[in-house]
């Protein structure tokens, strides 16, 4: 099949488009806010990876006579009720908090998105079953669900992660299903079916990429809430096991020293706040970059 190409060469489209695409990574860094978020996250991840090596003190170096010292040159963030160095503990806790966030949300993401995608795409009885099951989980009081899971599996980091993961699964399933339902009706899906594409190809190539926006937003929100849920579980004594610190546990212990030792709650609290904020900022940035429309806008804005 050979034919002459159309005689009239069409001119450029309205929006100036560079033919060499800027890499996604570089695009992320065009946005100052996203960069700030990324830097914070990088610090947190760095602390998670190398915290134990960087910490000036052992996290469990109990030194009761030196308990409850305010921040000083020696102990930047002060000491806690057992005389342990708060800075070291905040640093090392990054690992737990990040782990809890990533693993539990990763679990919820994987299971929830898969179920939501299938339910939304295939509909019918599968939809009914999956969504009713999600309703059952959803109707369960969140902390109680976590409580029960922790009680079954015994407390600890792993179970806390599973518990939080299970709690967030129905949310992901719902968000995914709603988006899938919407995208499924899009003409380009119909177009792909009309080509003869299989369901799996449509799910992979068309539906999934187009529901990443809400999923990313939900993920960054959930990451934040997962870190906080770990704190709530700690409040109920179900989170990370002592003596290992987590930001949530530290806050929990610190609550009894609220009026005497502000540093015990301030620093882990600030760590949570900054991390949660960073997750949200990076999530927003990522969503923008993954959306080709936003991407062009960013490319155009950043000149060339």
């Amino acid at each position: 099949m050979t034919t002459t190409p159309a005689a009239t060469p069409p001119s450029e489209p309205r929006a100036p488009v560079t033919d060499t695409r800027i890499s996604a990574l570089r695009l992320v860094f065009r946005n100052k806010v996203t960069v700030a978020g990324t830097v914070v996250l990088a610090v947190v991840v760095f602390a998670a990876a190398f915290g134990p090596l960087l910490a000036p003190y052992g996290i469990n170096d109990v030194d009761v006579p030196n308990a409850l010292q305010p921040p000083s040159g020696q102990h930047w963030f002060g000491t806690d009720e057992l005389g342990r160095d708060v800075f070291s503990r905040v640093l090392v806790s990054a690992r737990v908090s990040i782990l809890v966030g990533l693993v539990s949300v990763g679990f919820a993401l994987l299971v929830g998105v898969t179920l939501g995608l299938l339910a939304g795409f295939y509909g019918k009885w599968l939809d009914t079953v999956v969504m009713r099951a999600a309703d059952v989980l959803f109707a369960f009081p969140v902390l109680l669900l976590a409580l029960a899971i922790v009680a079954v599996l015994g407390p600890g980091l792993t179970t806390a992660m599973i518990a939080i993961g299970v709690v967030y699964t129905p949310i992901f399933a719902r968000v995914t299903r709603a988006s899938t339902l919407a995208v499924r009706e899009e003409p380009f899906v119909k177009a792909s079916i009309s080509i003869g594409a299989s369901s799996s190809l449509i799910l992979r190539r068309h539906i999934l990429p187009n529901i990443t926006g809400p999923i990313i937003v939900q993920t960054s929100l959930s990451l934040a809430f997962a870190i906080l849920s770990e704190a709530a579980l700690s409040f109920l004594g179900l989170g990370v096991q002592p003596p290992d610190p987590s930001w949530g546990r530290m806050l929990y212990v610190a609550k009894d020293f609220l009026s005497d030792a502000w540093w015990m709650s301030f620093f882990p609290g600030a760590a949570i706040f900054l991390t949660v904020l960073a997750f949200n900022l990076v999530g927003d940035g990522l969503r923008d970059v993954l959306d080709p429309r936003q991407r062009t806008a960013i490319e155009a804005r950043s000149g060339r």
Binding site: E81, G154, P155, P243, D260
Partner: protein, 488 residues
């Protein structure tokens, strides 16, 4: 103090003043004294019920519902003469039948406290005023068994049989049960006909405030008059607060570690001893109770007449390491089982973990909720556990149960025939000095064998408003409001 009128704090007003509001750290599970084992229940019931005899501030048994008693020469028959001016809150007469009914209920229904009547053969009521208890062997601790706490209270048969006792108990005590708001509070009103004299205050409202910071805020805001829901770490700052009275007395409670002798290498006495040498009791005590406790290497505090001097285990890492080496135990991974129900165990565990790491024991702290903890303990699923034993009066109660081969609370699986024999003997020894001697020996042996590694005796810490007069904290944690009053 801020002069904001924020209402009366939940209690009912009456002409002669307002209810005392006491904040306790939790909600009673039920109000049947024979069935509950919760301290929160007894905080309330202490003021509702009476026992035949009751401990005074030195924990000596004094007449209560029983005016007097005598023992037969063979020590096998106890005859109690009851007061004749006592009525229940519902107005019915208190008689010896009620005593027999109460005790038989515990025995016949095999309720939790039945073990205290292990030696009792019969309970007879020759007349309304007399109760005769026959025992199979001399029982020097009978008085503390029937009067040590309100779990042995004299209840009303009618109240039990109607089933009301679980939430509307009727007793003979200084306060009568008034109302119960689930999750929030229980109110008692003064018993005007109390045999010990009517209380001065119109009533008591117990509020359930588990968060210590909240309870203290309530106390300083004048919403609460009394509380024992106090984070130990806030005691120091509390003591300097002029708006609050803080009362602290050494208690008979003790906290201990128990290595599980059913699992290797904790069956080796050297390992247990090594642990005992390696731990820093001072740091543990400081960390767990912020100094509001006294370290001890045995169960009984110095203030008690049963006190025994013992100081074998001073911190000695070398010795501990030596013992570990002798036992051939190196690089030990140990699961230390503690419970969130008692946060001090969690804090102490963190220090202990640090201590033991220095002799090559890696401690994995298992923090369980109490229900699971109890299950695991009963199933022997632990390497070492930490817990406390509360409200102790007679040594038989705890030494026998915890360290006799047949003891019902011997979860650590300790068995030493010598100790068994000492405890058996002490049970029936009626001479006080001789009995004390037996317990001295037994206790020393138990500590030497490392059956329990005793840590400290905590203080009873309570705080109340300066306006509250006549309140004294007691070393057995009994909360009695019969004699308190408000200053004008």
């Amino acid at each position: 103090q801020e002069g904001v009128d924020l209402g009366d704090g939940g209690g009912g007003d009456s002409e002669n003043g307002r209810n005392l509001v006491a904040a306790i750290a939790g909600e009673p599970d039920q109000l049947d004294p024979h069935n509950t084992s919760a301290y929160f229940s007894f905080q309330v019931l202490e003021n509702v019920y009476d026992t035949l005899v009751a401990p005074d501030e030195n924990l000596e048994m004094q007449p209560a519902l029983a005016e007097s008693w005598e023992t037969s020469d063979d020590q096998l028959t106890w005859t109690f003469t009851l007061r004749d001016d006592v009525t229940f809150h519902d107005g019915s007469e208190f008689t010896s039948e009620d005593v027999a009914y109460s005790f038989n209920r515990i025995i016949d229904e095999e309720l939790g406290n039945a073990y205290r009547f292990g030696a009792v053969e019969s309970i007879e009521t020759p007349d309304e005023q007399t109760v005769v208890i026959k025992v199979s062997s001399p029982s020097p601790n009978l008085l503390s068994s029937i009067g040590g706490f309100k779990g042995m209270a004299i209840v009303s048969a009618e109240n039990v049989e109607s089933g009301d006792i679980q939430d509307t108990p009727i007793g003979t005590g200084p306060f009568a049960f008034d109302s119960y708001t689930t999750g929030d509070s229980i109110s008692l009103t003064a018993n005007e006909d109390y045999w010990g004299g009517a209380p001065e205050i119109p009533g008591v409202t117990f509020r359930f405030i588990s968060e210590g910071t909240t309870a203290l805020a309530d106390l300083t805001a004048g919403q609460v008059d009394w509380t024992d829901s106090i984070p130990a770490q806030q005691v120091t700052s509390l003591e300097s607060n002029p708006d609050v009275e803080v009362g602290m007395v050494p208690s008979n409670d003790y906290w201990y570690l128990a290595p599980n002798q059913a699992s290797a290498p904790y069956d080796d006495v050297r390992v247990r001893q090594a642990i005992a040498y390696a731990i820093d009791r001072d740091a543990i005590t400081q960390a767990a109770s912020f100094g509001n406790a006294t370290t001890n290497q045995l169960a009984i505090p110095e203030s008690s007449s049963w006190y025994t001097e013992y100081s074998e285990y001073s911190l000695d890492l070398e010795r501990a390491q030596q013992l570990m080496d002798d036992a051939g135990a190196s690089d030990l991974a140990m699961e230390l089982m503690v419970t969130t129900q008692y946060p001090e165990t969690v804090t102490a565990a963190e220090v202990i973990a640090d201590n033991l790491s220095q002799i090559g024991i890696t401690v994995d702290i298992r923090t369980l909720d109490f229900a699971t903890w109890l299950d695991e303990q009963a199933n022997g699923n632990f390497d070492m556990l930490m817990l406390g034993w509360l409200g102790n009066i007679d040594p038989d109660d705890f030494y026998y149960n915890q360290h006799h081969s047949e003891g019902s609370s011997n979860a650590q699986g300790y068995s030493n025939p010598e100790v068994d024999q000492l405890l058996d003997e002490a049970r029936t020894e009626t001479d006080v000095a001789a009995r004390q001697g037996l317990y001295d020996q037994a206790a020393t042996q138990i500590a030497d064998d490392g059956s329990y590694i005793y840590l400290y005796n905590p203080d009873v810490i309570q705080a109340w408003s300066p306006a509250l007069e006549g309140y004294e904290p007691r070393s057995d944690r009994a909360i009695r409001f019969a004699d308190v009053s408000f200053a004008e």
